[in-house]
Amino acid sequence: MELNLPIYLDNNATTPMDPRVLEAMLPYFIEKFGNAASRNHSFGWVAEEAVDYSREQIAKLINADPKEIILTSGATEADNLAIKGVYEMYASKGDHIITCTTEHKAVLDTCKHIEKLGGQVTYLDVKEDGLIDMAELEKAVTDKTILIAIMYGNNETGVIQDVKAISKIARKHGVLFFTDGTQVVGKIPVDVNADGIDLMAFSAHKMYGPKGVGALYVRRKNPRVKVTSQMDGGGHERGMRSGTLNVPSIVGFGKACELCMNEMESESKRLSKMRDRLENSLMELEETYVNGNREHRLPHTANISFKYVEGEGLMMGFNKNIALSSGSACTSASLEPSYVLKALGLGDDLAHSSLRFGLGRFTTDEQIDFTIKAIKETVIKLREMSPLWEMFKEGVDINAIEWAHH
């Protein structure tokens, strides 16, 4: 097969749209342009029918009822709606939320906002493998706790939390369980009933659908969950999210869910095989480490630290041909490395030396071969240029040196 350059290995940031999704969307821009809330004419009926069908496709992927799907502009909005909406709706019950330090900013910053409003938030640390400790979670629950907000799968490391164990603790204490499912829905089987999830945010553009559309799953039975709307208006989405429905994108979201549903099993096998091959080949380099639990992990994600080379410098060696993401952000004055990797207990040096690989539906074996070769060559070249590598090779203890901190 022909090798197409550049290679896209940043599928945890966003995925390209599947052409089949675009095809499903096209009629809803010009020909079937109606407002799904227009009840009095056929244009509205056609749009409403399309949304209803999409909602079924979306619900089916996570084994929910279509009525439990609240359509939003994406996962960030769904995260906000879940946390702020629960905080407001259940104010009479309590004001305490439990989350963890490796959550996406959309959850962490929303929790910070809750704190500003006077709410209490506990940020659980994660273990070295990125998983939370169930005993610590249970210990954090108080009689004021209303919500546990723990992500399903991490965007940087791909580590999958034990959601069944989390929901068991939540149920036991009568606390709601919200999970950010953005990285996992469409990639691995998610069943809101078997998993005991009360609320879940997810997004179309991480599963080969369009950007700008996502959903919040809100449980309707056992228990019946309600969130206070964060956007006032026409009372769409059972009053929880006003705003004219983005019909073409919702149709695309539905189609994307259907494709994931049909192809997930074979696709996750194909991707994990490819990911493992990539990872094992790169691990042949000395002083190379996989970040996060390798067993409880998304099939398409790998986060690897190449000690003694800096991530951004490393990416420069191949970023004309390979698109991926580094745990190091050397672009700001603070030079802060990834907070997720630091939460796993990685030193700043290892966090600065990491790359995140996100494989996807359109990744080929040829692209993986090319990537392995390019990264190996660049790591070797940069280590030859690295004073830290030279010190390591000479047996100098780098931690014993008194570095001048800027």
């Binding site: 190091s328 030079l335 030193g347 901190h405």
Partner: protein, 138 residues
């Protein structure tokens, strides 16, 4: 962020990567930066005692492309200069030559620090007093 052609050129074909014998009295070594900050530079100069000129300069850098380019350029500029001329190299000269964007200015400051540290090491080894450098913001 797009890198300038000059940064890419130094990154792809770095000049003077290597190590000089730091036990020699006419070799000065400067090691600046910190692994936690994402860049460490080691810059070395060898001074020809007869002429007083810097006859060789080598570097090794752990860092982003701009840090590598800044140190590579610094070694190029050092060769053939007297120690006093080398002291006059300003980080803004590096910024201009490499077209570094504002977020990468610290790379040039680090390169200037490395030059000064190497010169000081050379001075101390040869019984000269250490120079106190003006502090620049990183």
């Amino acid at each position: 962020m797009a890198y300038s052609d000059k940064v890419i050129d130094h990154y792809s074909n770095p000049k003077n990567v290597g190590t000089l014998d730091k036990s020699k009295t006419n070799v000065g070594t400067g090691l600046v930066g910190a692994p936690e900050c994402g860049d460490v530079m080691r810059l070395q100069i060898e001074v020809d005692e007869a002429s007083g000129l810097i006859s060789d300069a080598k570097f090794k850098t752990f860092g982003c492309g701009s840090a590598i380019a800044s140190s590579s350029l610094a070694t190029e500029w050092l060769k053939g200069k007297t120690v006093d001329q080398a002291l006059a190299i300003d980080n803004m000269d590096i910024v201009e030559e490499l077209n570094l964007p504002p977020v990468k200015i610290h790379c040039s400051v680090l390169a200037e620090d490395a030059i000064k540290a190497a010169i000081n090491d050379y001075r101390v080894k040869n019984g000269l007093p250490e120079l106190v450098a003006e502090k620049k913001a990183h």
